[in-house]
């Protein structure tokens, strides 16, 4: 066990803090504390320019291996990076799906040619990605995807037909990774492929879905004989790769998320002190509980990251359930601290205040990325080895 940072680590901290101080200025100053959860649809063009600035400074893919263009930073340094990033109020990363999910997946499963084709543009902050998993009939039951991939005999290209739904930021993305059925006779986990599909082609139609926030961060995506640029791995490997990608979701980037959570909690505490809510005994206790919950989250994440092998321990199984429930409660706490003022919008017709966005967005935390019920099933079945609930007829 080693819970402190080395001298080199502290030098690294000074370096990133200094870089942020000099770069998060000028046109980027307005992005401070923007683009986080519930605010992801805002300033996307500016944030994409910021992504390129980060890239130019060598601050993208810092945890990727050197040979893939990353910085090869240790876990400790990645932690430090995220701490400083959040402390400076640097904006939500438009490139996080590419950097945090696609990159590590391609490094693990793609061939060198494919890696050379996609990784540089992710690092450069030029290509943005979206996740094409869920379908109308495949939410919690992701293995029920019906989107089909068919190989064209003439030139061996794969063509995709079907519909995805709830695809976050599809309207801003250049690429989508799509889970599709390579074997039309198959059911469940078998016969799936993991495809990379350009969003800029006639066979792809993106239709925004309005959320209860009044904004549209997610979309329906229709594939109509769309060309898949690449299949990663073999036909039939789709499920394995799709699951591995979700594993990366629990990686270091969650530390950055925690720092944002800390910023949110700090803001709530600030308001509670100024409007008198901090004198209310029930709210005081909930603020204290929120603080404790966030510490738990942080310790658990650090422990999760200290695993050297790729095998994750039981702490990984409980993580999503904990942070999503915690964050959902934080949203409610924000509203209660505001009291009767909580319902008042920033301005008409439907511009939410930051804390309202937080509140509404956190209603979805326990749904996306595996609902809380599914998380508990995973803890019980995979973690505790309990028998599975019977499935119905899958056809």
């Amino acid at each position: 066990m080693k819970l402190t940072f080395t001298v080199e680590d502290e030098a690294f901290r000074a370096e990133i803090a200094q870089w942020l101080r000099t770069n998060l200025t000028g046109e980027f100053a307005a992005l401070k504390f923007r683009g986080g959860p519930g605010d992801e649809h805002m300033f996307t063009a500016e944030r994409q320019r910021w992504e390129k600035r980060l890239a130019a400074g060598g601050w993208t893919g810092i945890g990727w291996p050197l040979k893939h263009g990353g910085r090869g930073c240790s876990i400790e340094q990645q932690v430090i990076f995220h701490e400083e990033y959040a402390r400076a109020g640097a904006p939500g990363r438009v490139g996080h799906i590419g950097e945090g999910l696609v990159g590590p997946t391609l490094i693990a499963f793609a061939d060198p040619e494919q890696q050379a084709k996609y990784l540089p543009a992710i690092l450069a902050g030029t290509d943005l990605w979206c996740q094409g998993y869920s379908e109308p009939g495949a939410g919690s039951d992701l293995a029920n995807v019906k989107t089909r991939a068919r190989r064209e005999n003439a030139d061996n290209t794969w063509r995709i037909n079907g519909q995805k739904v709830w695809t976050s930021l599809a309207h801003e993305s250049d690429w989508c990774f799509v889970l599709a059925r390579t074997d039309s006779e198959s059911v469940g986990h078998k016969g799936l492929g993991f495809f990379l599909v350009s969003m800029h082609q006639p066979g792809v139609t993106v239709r925004p879905i309005e959320q209860l926030t009044g904004t549209s961060e997610f979309n329906e995506v229709f594939f109509d004989d769309a060309v898949a640029a690449d299949l990663i791995g073999e036909p039939g490997d789709g499920w394995k790769i799709a699951m591995a990608l979700l594993g990366f979701e629990r990686g270091v980037s969650t530390l950055g998320q925690q720092m944002q959570f800390q910023n949110e909690l700090d803001e709530i505490v600030r308001i509670a002190k100024s409007n008198g809510a901090a004198r209310d005994p029930l709210l005081r206790q909930r603020i204290a509980e929120a603080h404790i919950g966030l510490r738990l989250m942080r310790y658990n994440a650090m422990r999760m990251l200290s695993h050297t092998s790729t095998e994750s321990g039981p702490e990984a199984l409980v993580y999503k359930l904990h942070w999503s429930s915690w964050h959902r409660n934080l949203g409610a706490l924000a509203m209660d601290v505001l009291g009767p003022e909580a319902e008042i919008l920033e301005s008409g017709p439907y511009n939410l205040t930051r804390l309202q966005s937080l509140f509404l967005f956190t209603r979805s935390d326990t749904i996306y990325g595996g609902t809380s019920q599914i998380q508990r099933n995973i803890i019980a079945e995979r973690g505790l080895g309990m028998p599975k609930e019977a499935k119905g007829n899958l056809r």
């Binding site: 919690s140 009767p340 919008l345 008409g348 749904i367």
Partner: protein, 356 residues
């Protein structure tokens, strides 16, 4: 002790429920909320024809002379169908306030008759609410000012609109100059009237919240029965069933609390504050849980604008802190119980019910 309602009360509820089901479907409400005023004079007129605005106006002013107890049923219907709150403000809260003023008070009889015939909109301004609902259309605002009751007409007020997270709520911050001309009664009489009005406002919210909870529960039960995952209706998974069973329990436990509070208010019980705060807390808690579990069992669908659930959730969230937020009502309960003069012990806690 008897928690049953009269046949008249139940029949009235049934009639209003059937009427609102056909006349105020969610699609229509959404259309209305998209308009600048956010209200439909036609719908309001139809509701008056049903007798809803006359319900608790005294018979002398052309009303039906029913009261708080019947409203405990009807506010649930208003919540269930997400009827904008201005109706309850006029027909329930303002009517109760005016009726409580001494007979012969200026404007009292005139306003009550007009409420009964459905020709007036009244907003109610109390310092517990930073904003006042439906001022933009109100003919009269009954406003609290240092315990006095003022009746403000359009000429006497300035207001600035403040949109709410629930698009159906039309709130404004108002400014006004109190004067002898606007004062209906002074603070000596006014304080008691306002104390009762605060309770009535809180009870109106409690009833609506309970109706909202029931609606969210019904929508959710429908959804989980239709939606399939893993080859089964998701409602067949225990994790989903239990979420909704918990909501049903909260609703059932909140009902008698609401009814008891309405009874206490109607009879001027000494414990009315305690009962009303309890009702507000219990009903709002049911609505909160219904929203939380309702959206959870809807999955991503529940997070969309298009699915009606959001209309009911947002109303519940907004009403949660209207007429006293949770902290306010919790501390009222605590103050009553911890007061030096408080009676404690089983004969107080349980006996009060039996004496009714």
């Amino acid at each position: 002790m008897d928690f049953t309602f009269t046949e008249d009360q139940l029949a009235f509820r049934e009639a209003i429920s059937r009427f609102l089901m056909t006349e105020a479907p969610p699609e229509l409400l959404r259309d209305i909320w998209d308009t600048e005023e956010g209200r439909s004079p036609e719908l309001r007129a139809k509701i008056s024809e049903q007798g809803l605005t006359a319900l608790s106006v005294p018979e002398a002013q052309g009303g039906l002379g029913m009261g708080d107890i019947t409203w405990a049923l009807l506010t649930q219907e208003l919540g269930y169908y997400a009827i904008p709150d201005s109706l309850a403000d006029t027909a329930f809260v303002a009517t109760g306030l005016l009726s409580a003023l001494p007979e012969g008070t200026r404007m009292r009889e005139e306003l009550l008759s007009r409420i009964a015939e459905g020709s007036v909109r009244i907003a109610v301004g109390h310092s517990v609410n930073p904003l006042v609902a439906d001022v933009h259309l109100a003919d009269v605002v009954l406003q609290e000012h240092q315990g006095e009751v003022h009746a403000l007409c359009r000429d006497n007020i300035g207001f600035e609109r403040n949109p709410s997270i629930d698009s159906s709520r039309r709130l404004s911050r108002i400014s006004f100059e109190p004067s002898d001309a606007t004062r209906l009664v002074g603070s000596e009489q006014g304080r008691a009237v306002w104390a009762q009005t605060l309770n009535r406002g809180a009870l109106a919210v409690a009833g609506q919240s309970l109706g909202l909870a029931q609606r969210m529960l019904d929508l959710s039960v429908d959804y989980v029965t239709q939606r399939k995952q893993f080859g089964k209706p998701i409602g067949s998974f225990q994790a989903v069933k239990h979420k909704l069973a918990d909501v049903a329990s909260k609703i059932e436990f909140a009902k008698p609390v609401l009814y008891h509070a309405a009874h206490a208010l109607a009879h001027g019980d000494a414990q009315a504050n305690l009962n009303v705060s309890h009702a507000k807390l219990a009903c709002c808690e049911a609505a909160w849980l219904a929203a939380r579990n309702g959206i959870q069992v809807h999955g991503a669908m529940g997070y969309t604008w298009e699915v009606d659930l959001q209309m009911f959730m947002k109303r519940a969230w907004a009403l949660d802190s209207a007429w006293g937020d949770r902290a306010f009502h919790n501390s009222r309960v605590a103050e009553t119980l911890l007061a030096d003069t408080a009676q404690i012990g089983p004969s107080f806690t349980f006996g009060a019910l039996q004496n009714d």
